[in-house]
Subunit: 363 residues, 2 copies
C-alpha cells in the first residue's frame, strides 16, 4: 500500500470569504458588528500583567469560565461543558453521544458541519426534509410508536434552534415533544443564534436528562476571535462529554480565552444592549427589504434569509459583491434562491439598502 | 437500544496534578520555570488595544503565526501547520495519515496519548519494546525487506525524539535510516522536548516528503497556557493535514494565541537564554542526583528520568510530596522504578536536593 493510500482525503471546507478589502461591508459570516464587552479588554489588560502565568498549562476544566457561565444561567457548574467554539463542543457531542450505530436525524437544510462530523466519526444519519416553508415538523422526529412519523429507531437528534440558514425558530412545546418522545437517545439543540430573540431550551434540561443545549460566544457575545462555546445538560451527559474530551486532548481552551470569556459572560448589561441593537436593526432592515421586493423567513437570529423577487439571486449576490457588500449564497437545491445576510450596524444596513436600490435602478 | 448504549465510554485521563498549594515546587508536568518572552506581554498589550477585533473569526490558517514559525526555521510557510498545542496537531496527524488499516508502530514506553488517538480513530497499532537501556533500536522500525526487523507491512511510525519519559535522544542517522526505509508511510517525529539540547530532524523534511516533525510552544517557549503546537513537513503532507482539519473544525487557534505565539517565536534571543538555562540546571542537577544515589538516562529534555538506588521509588515520591515537591511517578511495568522530575529554576532544584538529603537522613 502506498503512502497516498494511507491518507484521509476530504472535500476541503469552503468557509465564508474573509477578504481584506478596505471599505468592505462584511455580512457573510454572522459575526457581531459591535466590539466585545469593555470587560474583555480589561481582562486582557490584567492578563498582560500576569503573562508569566502562560508558562503553566491552563485549567483543563476551564473552571473559571464554566463557573461564570453556570452563574449567568443559574445552573450548577457540573452541568456546563466549555470548548473551543461551539464547533468543538458539537464535534465532541457527535463523538460521545451518537455511537450506537443507529441513524441520527437532522434537517436537510441546516448547519453543514453536521454531515461532516457524522462522516468523520462514521455515524449513520438521515436527512429529514424541512417543510416547504422551511419549518421543522416535530412529527418527523418522533417514532411511529409515539404517534410520530420517524421510521425505525432513532440513534440521536440534532438541529439548530433557530435553524440556520433559515433563521426560523421552533417553539418550546415542539422541542419538548421531540425530547420527551425520545428518552432513549440524546437530543442536541444547537442554539448558536438563540440570543437574538428566540427562546432557549435551557430550562428543559432540568426536566429531561437526554437533552443538551449548545451555545457559542461567537455571535451574541462578539467573540468569534476567542473561540468559546459551551454545552449545558444533565451532569450525567456533561460527565461523559468531559471523559471523552479529556481522554484525547485535555488542554484546549487557553488561558486568554478562559479569562476573556469569563469577563464577557459577566457583563450581562452589555450583552443585552448589543443583542437588542441587532434585533432592532434586523426588524427595521427586514421591513426595508420587503419594501424592496424580497421574500423572507421570520428570522430570530442575527441574519436574514431573503429571496429577491426582482432579479436572479446569484446575479444580485455578484452585484452586491462588486459594490463591496459580502453576503452568503449557496448554489444548492431548495436554498439557491436565497441570500443569507448578516445584520451589521444601522449604517451598514442603510448602505446595503442604498446599494440594492442602485442595483435595481431606483436611484 | 437505550441511551446509555449509544454513549462512548472511555477511560478518563489522569493528568499530572495541578494542586494549588502555596510554596509547592511543581516539577510534574514539564512546564518551563521561566515566564514567556517579554514580547508576549507586549503582544497582549497590543491586543488589549485592538480588542474589538475579537468580534471577527480568527484567520483559519493562523497565517501570522505560521509565517513567523516559517521565518524562524527558514522554511516556506506552505510547509507549516499550526494547531491548539501539539496534542491537537498530533491527533490531527493520526486522523490524516494513519488511515490505511495497516498497523502503525510506536515504542512501548512513550507518550501515552499515542495509544489513545489510535483507539479513538480505530487505527491498528503495535507497541515496539524499547531496548533494556530504554533506547530505540531503529532496526525495529525497518521492514525485513530493507534489512530491518519489523514484521509485515507498516502503516505509519511515530516516536518522540527525545523520547518521553526516558529523555533519550535518537541520533539523526538512525532517524534518517527509519524515514528512508519507509517511503510508503508517514513517519512522525514528535519533538516536544527537542529544544533542550537535542538535534531536530527538521532539515530531513527537505529531503524526505514522508517525514513530519511536530513541536510545541508549551515547554521551550514557556507558553503551555496558550496552547500552540505546529508541524513542519512537505507541502503535500501539510496540505492534507489542513484539508482534514478545516473540513470539520476550521477555526481553533484564537486571535490571542496567534498574536502571543508570533511574538514568542520572534524573540529568538530569549528562547536561547531560557532553554540554555534549563540545560545548565539539568546538567548540574543530574550530577547532584548521581552523587545522592540515583541512576539516570542521558536526558536531552527539560526533565530527568531517575531511579533512586537508596529507597523504594514510590516511597520517595510520597515523601517528596509531603515536602511539597511534586514529581511524576507511574506505577507501570518497566518504568515503575523511575521518577520523572521536571527541571525548575536553580533555586527549585537546590531545594529538591536539600529535601532528598533530609529524606535520606543525611542532614
Amino acid at each position: 500500500m502506498s503512502l497516498e493510500d494511507k491518507i484521509r482525503k476530504v472535500e476541503p471546507y469552503v468557509a465564508g470569504e474573509q477578504p481584506k478589502v478596505p471599505g468592505l461591508i462584511k455580512l457573510n459570516t454572522n459575526e457581531c458588528p459591535y466590539p466585545p464587552s469593555g470587560k474583555v479588554k480589561e481582562a486582557l489588560r490584567l492578563l498582560e500583567e500576569e503573562s508569566e502565568k502562560l508558562r503553566l498549562y491552563p485549567d483543563m476544566n476551564a473552571q473559571e469560565l464554566v463557573d461564570a457561565i453556570a452563574a449567568h444561567y443559574g445552573v450548577d457548574p457540573e452541568r456546563v461543558f466549555a470548548g473551543v467554539g461551539s464547533d468543538d463542543v458539537l464535534s465532541m457531542c457527535f463523538l460521545t453521544f451518537f455511537t450506537g450505530g443507529e441513524e441520527i436525524l437532522f434537517p436537510d437544510v441546516t448547519y453543514s458541519f453536521y454531515e461532516v462530523w457524522a462522516g468523520l466519526y462514521r455515524i449513520p444519519y438521515r436527512l429529514v426534509p424541512l417543510c416547504s416553508d422551511f419549518t421543522i415538523d416535530p412529527e418527523d422526529y418522533i417514532p411511529a410508536d409515539k404517534g410520530g412519523r420517524a421510521p425505525g429507531t432513532i440513534g440521536g437528534i440534532i438541529f439548530p434552534n433557530p435553524n440556520a440558514p433559515t433563521g426560523i425558530e421552533l417553539g418550546q412545546e415542539d422541542i419538548e415533544r421531540i425530547v420527551s418522545a425520545n428518552p432513549d437517545c440524546v437530543v442536541i439543540v444547537d442554539e448558536a443564534y438563540v440570543d437574538f430573540g428566540a427562546r432557549s431550551a435551557l430550562s428543559l434540561t432540568e426536566k429531561y436528562d437526554n437533552l443538551l443545549v449548545v451555545q457559542t460566544f461567537s455571535k451574541s457575545r462578539a467573540m468569534a476571535g476567542s473561540r468559546i462555546g459551551f454545552a449545558i445538560g444533565s451532569p450525567r451527559l456533561i460527565g461523559y462529554l468531559k471523559d471523552v474530551k479529556f481522554s484525547f486532548n485535555s488542554y484546549t481552551l487557553n488561558l486568554q480565552a478562559i479569562r476573556a470569556g469569563r469577563a464577557a459572560v459577566e457583563d450581562d448589561e452589555y450583552f443585552r444592549e448589543i443583542t437588542g441593537k441587532v434585533v432592532k436593526t434586523r426588524e427595521w432592515f427586514a421591513k426595508e427589504l420587503k419594501d424592496l421586493g424580497f421574500e423572507m423567513t421570520q428570522s430570530r437570529t442575527n441574519f436574514l434569509f431573503a429571496k429577491p423577487l426582482f432579479m436572479d439571486t446569484n446575479e444580485l449576490f455578484l452585484r452586491l459583491r462588486e459594490n463591496k457588500v459580502l453576503v452568503r449564497h449557496w448554489d444548492r437545491p431548495r436554498i439557491g434562491d436565497y441570500l443569507r445576510i448578516t445584520i451589521g450596524t444601522d449604517d451598514d444596513m442603510r448602505e446595503v439598502i442604498n446599494i440594492i436600490r442602485r442595483i435595481k435602478g431606483e436611484d
